[in-house]
Amino acid sequence: MDEKRQEEQEQLNAFIDGELDVEARAAVTARAARDPAYARELATLSQLKAATVDAVPVPDLSLPPVPGRRRRGVAMAIAASLVLFVAAGAGWTVFKEQSTVAGAFVLDYAAEIHRAWIPQAPGATPNATAHPVSAILHPSIPDLSANGLDLRYVGANETRIAKDTLVLGYLGSRGCRLTMLVNRAERTPAVKIVNIEAGRILASYWQAGPLRYTLLAEGMAQARFRLIANIVHRASLERLPFDKDARTALAQSRASSPPCRA
């Protein structure tokens, strides 16, 4: 099928799906009025769509019972453990076992958000200005494009522990997906970055001024993730954009890393 014919087909399908603008709809309607074969094709596609919808009747569906959620008290106790652990000067720490309380907490809620966000279409620029936390991010939302990761999602999710968490979703062209969560948190002394590894999940978190940062990726090469985390960590503490050395390091890391494992 030639390209022109393919475009014509796509336009017909978009017409019956209600995806054309007013002008394009008028053009299709006008052509259908003077071209019987075109009108027949339009009618057939319309009939097909209607029959497809009717081909799957919906049975009676009821909501399933929901497993009990953790009580607020338990979650707060875990959060308290997290703060105490970090303030005790744990510094650079790697949790190898998911059963560790603080690590399990971060992995639990952060991993869920990481898997849930849906990227905007390529080329669209997510709007971060509306979120109150983004206004105080220093110096701005981290730009990871040097590492082949484009910002493709900006949203706000309410978590049990941190209300109004800013969610930044980054997507690479080779299957890599990285999530950054930023939320206001109790002001504590600036703490060193805490790193977590559990199976395919890599996570890092730290406090920088009034903000808590959590970074998470799945299936990414560890060295690449650690580099990204260290650079973002330093930039958040120094309140400066990435310098040239940082951008070079990000680019080199991406070039030398394998694609993320699915």
Binding site: M1, R5, Q6, E8, Q9, E10, L12, N13, A14, D17, E19, A37, Y38, R40, E41, T44, L45, Q47, L48, K49, A51, T52, V53, D54, A55, V56, V58, P59, L61, L63, P64, V66, P67, R69, D108, Y109, E112, I113, R115, A116, W117, I118, P119, Q120, A121, P122, G123, G155, A156, N157, E158, T159, R160, T165, L171
Partner: protein
């Protein structure tokens, strides 16, 4: 009413397009609902929330398939007519387009074709929403929809419609 309730029907239709089995589709919707209802955080925006539900359902199905090492074909159905336009296919003989024939034909489509028709026709998502769920450009959604419907129409040609046995009763 739980926030997910208005979407259960659409989720079921989409699940059916992927599973081709009523019980499996029902189970899939139930699993999706459990995950959505027990999630600690959900998108605030309604459009984002709707898309999020379909991503959960889709991921649940593919995770299940990977775990079971499903042998179901993942590639497109091959049709010697796939390069012909629907206009060529439709000229001349009448096509048998009704719910039964379409249901039969859908079952023969490849998974990718059923996926896109499921999202647009059965789930009622817009092209932009489907693009978000599939993580592809809107233009890709447009071409996939067009090609999938072409293949569906090709399967509806009289020679491809499976006649119902005389012994079966139509309810």
């Amino acid at each position: 009413m739980a926030r997910i309730e208005p979407y259960l029907g659409r989720l079921y239709r989409y699940a059916f397009s992927l599973c081709r089995d009523e019980d499996a589709a029902r189970d899939l919707v139930q699993q999706c609902a459990v995950k959505a209802l027990s999630a600690r955080s959900v998108p605030k925006d309604e459009v984002a929330y709707r898309s999020w539900l379909f991503v959960i359902l889709r991921n649940t199905l593919f995770d299940d398939a990977r775990r079971r090492k499903s042998a179901e074909a993942m590639h497109e159905a091959v049709s010697e007519r796939e390069n012909r336009s629907s206009m060529e296919l439709l000229s001349g003989d009448e096509r048998l387009i009704n719910t039964l024939s379409v249901k039969q034909a859908m079952a023969k489509l490849g998974e990718n074709d059923r996926d896109i028709i499921g999202l647009i026709d059965l789930a009622g998502l817009s092209y932009a929403e489907a693009a978000g769920v599939l993580d592809v450009p809107v233009g890709t959604v447009m071409s996939r929809v067009s090609r999938a419907r072409n293949r569906l129409i090709a399967l509806l040609e009289p020679s491809n419609v499976t006649p119902i046995s005389a012994r079966r009763q139509i309810r």
